[in-house]
C-alpha cells in the first residue's frame, strides 16, 4: 500500500494538497502544531496511488511520498 508522510510541524494547513488529491485521502487535523496551524494529515489506511500531486503543490515541501514496489 502506497502512502504519504506529512511533516506536520512544517505544515501551515493551506489545504492545497487536499484539493488536488484524487483519492480524497488527506484532511486537516483537528489538533494544532507548534506554530498554531491545523496541519494536513494522511487519513490512516486511506487509498494512495503515490501520484505525487500533493507533493507537487505543497508550498512547504513537507510531504514525502512512498510507493509500494
Amino acid at each position: 500500500m502506497s502512502k504519504i508522510e506529512i511533516i506536520t510541524e512544517k505544515c501551515k494547513g493551506c489545504g492545497l494538497c487536499i484539493i488536488v488529491c484524487p483519492k480524497k485521502s488527506i484532511q486537516l487535523s483537528k489538533n494544532f502544531n507548534k506554530a498554531g496551524y491545523h496541519p494536513a494529515v494522511f487519513v490512516e489506511g486511506a487509498d494512495c496511488t503515490a501520484c505525487g500531486l500533493c507533493f507537487q503543490v505543497c508550498p512547504d515541501v513537507c510531504i514525502e511520498v512512498y510507493k509500494d514496489k
Binding site: I19, A35, V57, C58, P59, V61, E64
Partner: protein, 245 residues
C-alpha cells in the same frame, strides 16, 4: 516501501516563513530540483532579492548573496564576470525586478549577461502588506489602490516578458504559473531550461512565474489559485516569449 518524492538536497530543512499557500515555496523547490538534476549545486551562487524571498539564503543549500533592492541583476553580472565558471541566478519579486530594479533588469538583459533570472510575479508588494506594484492588474484592489487600479492615474500593468522580448541580448523568456500540478510541472521544465541555457552559454534567460499571494489578496489559498487561473493569466498570458536558437 520506497520513498519516491521528498525534499531535494539543494533545499534546507528550515521551515519557510512564507504565508500559508504562498507560491514562493513551490518555486524554491522547482529551482532546487532543477539545480540538483543538472548537478550544479556545488557551483551555484544565488542572489536573493529584497521582498518576501529576502531570506532565500536560509532555504537554499548553496551559496546565496543578498543584494540591495532591485540590484540582483547588477550583482549577478559582477559575480558571473569574476567567476564565469559559476552558475549565477537571481530570484526576484515584481517589486524588486519590475519597479525599483527596472534599469538593472533591462540593461543586464540588453547586455546579454549569461545569467538566469527567476522572476516571481504576484501582482503586488507582498512583504510590505500588499501595496500596488507595477504588475498589479487593472481594477485590482490593493492596500494602496482601494478602489482598484485606474490606468488613468496609475498606468498599466508592466509585462516584463513582452518588454524584454525585443532586446537582442535576451536568449530565453517564458511565463509560467504554479496554480496547479500541470502548470507546476511546466514551470519546472522552463526553470530547468533557463539553467541549462546558462550552462550552454546562451545568454540572459528569464522565467516569469505567476504566483499566488493569498494573504495579501485577501483570499483563501483555494480561491487564490482559482483567481490565478481565471483572472491573472488572462492579463499575463502564459507561454514562450523568446527562445533564441
Amino acid at each position: 516501501m520506497k520513498k519516491i518524492l521528498s525534499k531535494t538536497e539543494s533545499l534546507k530543512a528550515t521551515p519557510h516563513l512564507y504565508c500559508p499557500g504562498c507560491g514562493h515555496g513551490i518555486i524554491h523547490r522547482l529551482v532546487a530540483e532543477s539545480i540538483d538534476e543538472l548537478g550544479l549545486r556545488e557551483k551555484t551562487i544565488g542572489i536573493a532579492p529584497v521582498g518576501c524571498a529576502v531570506f532565500a539564503y536560509d532555504y537554499f543549500n548553496f551559496d546565496v548573496s543578498e543584494a540591495p533592492h532591485g540590484r540582483p541583476p547588477a550583482v549577478a553580472t559582477g559575480i558571473k564576470r569574476v567567476r564565469p565558471d559559476k552558475i549565477v541566478f537571481t530570484y526576484q519579486g515584481d517589486g524588486d525586478l519590475a519597479a525599483i530594479g527596472t534599469a538593472e533588469t533591462i540593461h543586464a538583459a540588453n547586455r546579454g549577461e549569461n545569467i538566469t533570472v527567476i522572476f516571481v510575479n504576484n501582482a503586488n508588494y507582498g512583504m510590505t502588506g500588499g501595496q500596488m506594484a507595477p504588475t498589479t492588474l487593472i481594477g485590482q484592489k490593493t492596500a494602496t489602490s482601494p478602489y482598484g487600479r485606474d490606468p488613468k492615474r496609475e498606468g498599466y500593468p508592466m509585462k516584463v516578458c513582452e518588454l524584454l522580448s525585443s532586446l537582442e541580448g535576451v536568449a530565453y523568456l517564458e511565463r509560467v504559473s504554479v496554480s496547479n500540478p500541470k502548470n507546476i510541472i511546466s514551470a519546472k521544465r522552463a526553470i530547468k531550461k533557463a539553467f541549462q541555457n546558462q550552462v550552454d552559454g546562451k545568454g540572459f534567460s528569464l522565467v516569469e512565474v505567476l504566483s499566488q499571494c493569498p494573504v495579501d489578496w485577501g483570499m483563501t489559498p483555494q480561491n487564490s489559485i482559482k483567481w490565478v487561473e481565471d483572472v491573472f493569466v488572462k492579463a499575463f498570458p502564459l507561454g514562450v516569449y523568446k527562445d533564441k536558437k
